[in-house]
């Protein structure tokens, strides 16, 4: 009885970043999910969404929600990540000075997602794009 939602994300459009997070947040509140768990979902989704806006040309977020789990698949068309291991390190960022100026690109995105997700798979093809799969158990606790 899973539900599916799809949100498109435009690269460079920081004005509308966060829309998917807001929508998902409201649904989880409707389901009565613990606020600590909602927080983890929102951190993951928001960071991942901002990553697309900051680095990629465009992308799509597919949310699969059932009573116990939320699966967030984010696929983008963009430059991809050459060295995923390096990108996963705290503080590492390739964000442009303009992006940092806006308060993004501190290099905390991927490590943050990894710390908050129950399952996190990242694959990337340099020159083509990046794909993230984040799963969070809705009955879980704060990490």
């Amino acid at each position: 009885m899973a539900m599916n939602f799809e949100y498109r994300v435009e690269g460079g459009d920081f004005t509308h970043a966060g829309y998917a997070s807001s929508q998902v947040k409201k649904m989880l509140k409707q389901l009565g999910v613990e606020s600590t768990v909602i927080k983890r979902v929102v951190v993951c989704l928001y960071e991942a969404e901002v990553n697309i806006v900051a680095h990629a040309w465009n992308g799509v977020i597919i949310i699969t929600l059932d009573a116990d789990n939320i699966l967030m698949k984010l696929t983008d068309n963009g430059p991809g990540i050459a060295d995923i291991e390096l990108a996963m390190q705290k503080g590492y960022s390739t964000a442009s000075p303009e992006v940092r100026e806006m308060g993004f690109g501190a290099g905390m995105g991927l490590p943050n997602i990894s710390a908050n997700a129950d399952r996190f798979v990242i694959t990337s093809e340099p020159g083509r794009g990046t794909s993230l799969e984040i799963t969070i158990n809705l009955n879980g606790n704060a990490v």
Partner: protein, 469 residues
């Protein structure tokens, strides 16, 4: 009143809808920031668990059908010592020439034995906030718990942010504890002391009647500010001889005098602070804060009313003028001004340690999500799916003719068994077109929502030929 199945009577509400006056115009329903109002039988109905007592409905009501409860004034005479706790915005409503001692004299002529300014209590809040800000383990930004409507908004809409709330009582409580202590030290028994708050808003009343995260309150009752404002105005205009008393040559400090205005509190706090006023601005900001999109702010001053308490729903004067007058008064005070109260009262600082022991909110502030569809996850999932299916059919125009503030609100009402799809005029029209419903049935539904009165000619209504109230 309608009640949520998730539990009744969690919040005490100061706002009441008078059914005999309400004409079901639905203006209140359209401005409510938590979607707590519906129209049934031509009257506005409140869903109690969603109401945060912000007073937006009260502001919008064109026929004054929404009233704010207050205690019977004669109750003050149940006490030997009758303290009026007066916020600075009361004084700010009067012309420059009207002094605080005149206001105080009028209040005494009404029966109070002591008039004390609430803002003194902020003297205790300053070090108390500093103390909290030094606790490194607390989340940032800390959110001021000064405005009770904001605290309740966070409980029902942003439960994840409850942990950011500064667990401190308001200057009002500190002032009340101080007054009680002073009187007790002078031989009065607690039972002989009545502390009454002249309130600028409904949220403060609700907070006094059912404090969040506190067991009891030192405040005995509330008196609405518009009532006091009218009494003072009348007395001053009739030039009634007043008992002379020159107490209150503003003994409040420059910076605490404007504590209740926007930026008043934030400017007294160290670190990066931000002050936001207006319930919709506050909601928008909290939404973003919850998404984790805001960093680097240490302290948030949030006020439900535009211009802070100068915009309180029980004020009778223009909020911008009130704020300007108070800021002007504050500027003209000498820094560190502490003119002694004429009654030889000890300064609130004399009780610093006693009050600092009382300033923390000790009980948990509990989440009360208004979004949760059901306590059972599978059931909530089914309800959410159904609500989304319904949204496929509802027009998305948010016209409000169904008696709910938006299509989504109607869809959620339906899955909560508080509404029916046939309330939607678009659905009824298309059903009639397909001969699935007759005109008579459709009219009946319309009247069940809007009452019979809206279907008859009435030349007395606002804007009509023979307008009269």
């Amino acid at each position: 009143m309608l009640s949520d199945r998730t539990g009744k009577g969690f919040f005490h509400h100061a706002l009441t809808i008078r059914e005999d006056i309400c004409n079901g115009c639905s203006l209140c329903m359209r401005v409510c920031p938590t979607g707590a109002l519906r129209i049934r039988d031509g009257k506005a109905r409140l869903i109690e668990d969603r109401c945060v007592d912000c007073g937006e409905c009260f502001r919008s009501c064109p026929v004054h059908a929404i009233i704010i409860e207050q205690d019977d004034f004669s109750r003050i005479f149940d006490y030997k010592h009758r303290v009026a706790l007066v916020p600075a915005v009361l004084h700010g409503q009067f012309r420059h020439e009207v002094s605080m001692s005149e206001i105080s004299a009028v209040l005494k002529s009404l029966g109070f034995t002591w008039v004390y300014e609430v803002e003194h209590g902020a003297e205790i809040l300053k070090p108390a906030i500093d103390e909290l800000m030094n606790v490194r383990t607390l989340p940032r930004p800390l959110i001021s718990s000064y405005c009770p409507a904001v605290v309740r908004l966070i409980q029902v809409r942003f439960p994840a942010l409850i942990r950011n709330l500064a667990t401190l009582k308001a200057p009002l409580e500190m002032a009340a504890f101080y007054c009680r202590r002073v009187l007790r030290d002078r031989g009065a028994h607690n039972a002989e002391i009545g502390v009454f708050y002249v309130t600028p808003c409904a949220a403060k009343i609700a907070a006094v009647k059912s404090p969040v995260g506190e067991e009891s309150t030192p405040i005995t009752g509330v008196i609405n500010m518009d009532f006091i404002f009218n009494r003072i105005n009348r007395t001053l205009r009739n030039k009634v001889e007043l008992p002379h008393g020159d107490d209150h040559a503003y003994s409040v400090d420059q910076d605490t005098l404007v504590w209740s205005l926007t930026t008043g509190e934030a400017s007294c706090v160290n670190g990066r602070t931000l002050a936001i006023d207006g319930i919709n601005n506050v909601t928008e900001f909290l939404e973003q804060l919850e998404n984790d999109g805001i960093t680097g702010i240490d302290y948030l001053e949030l006020r439900a009313c535009d211009e802070g308490c100068a915009g309180g729903v029980l004020l009778s004067s223009n909020r911008f003028l009130v704020a300007e007058r108070l800021r002007n008064k504050a500027r003209n005070l000498k820094p560190g001004n502490r003119a002694a109260d004429s009654d030889d009262l000890p300064d609130i600082d004399a009780y610093h340690d006693y009050l600092m022991n009382k300033v923390r909110i000790t009980d948990d502030i509990k989440p009360r999500s208004m979004y949760r569809l059901s306590g059972d996850r599978d059931e909530a999932m089914r309800m959410m799916k159904r609500s989304r299916r319904l949204m496929c059919w509802l027009p998305g125009t948010d016209c409000g003719l169904c008696g709910a503030p938006s299509c989504q609100a109607l869809a959620e009402d339906i899955v909560r068994r508080r509404g029916d799809i046939s309330q939607c005029v678009f659905i009824r029209e298309s059903n009639m077109e397909k001969d699935l419903m007759d005109r008579e049935r459709s009219n009946e539904i319309m009247r069940r929502i809007w009452g019979d009165n809206n279907f008859t000619k009435n030349c007395n209504k606002k804007g009509a030929e023979n307008e009269s109230n």
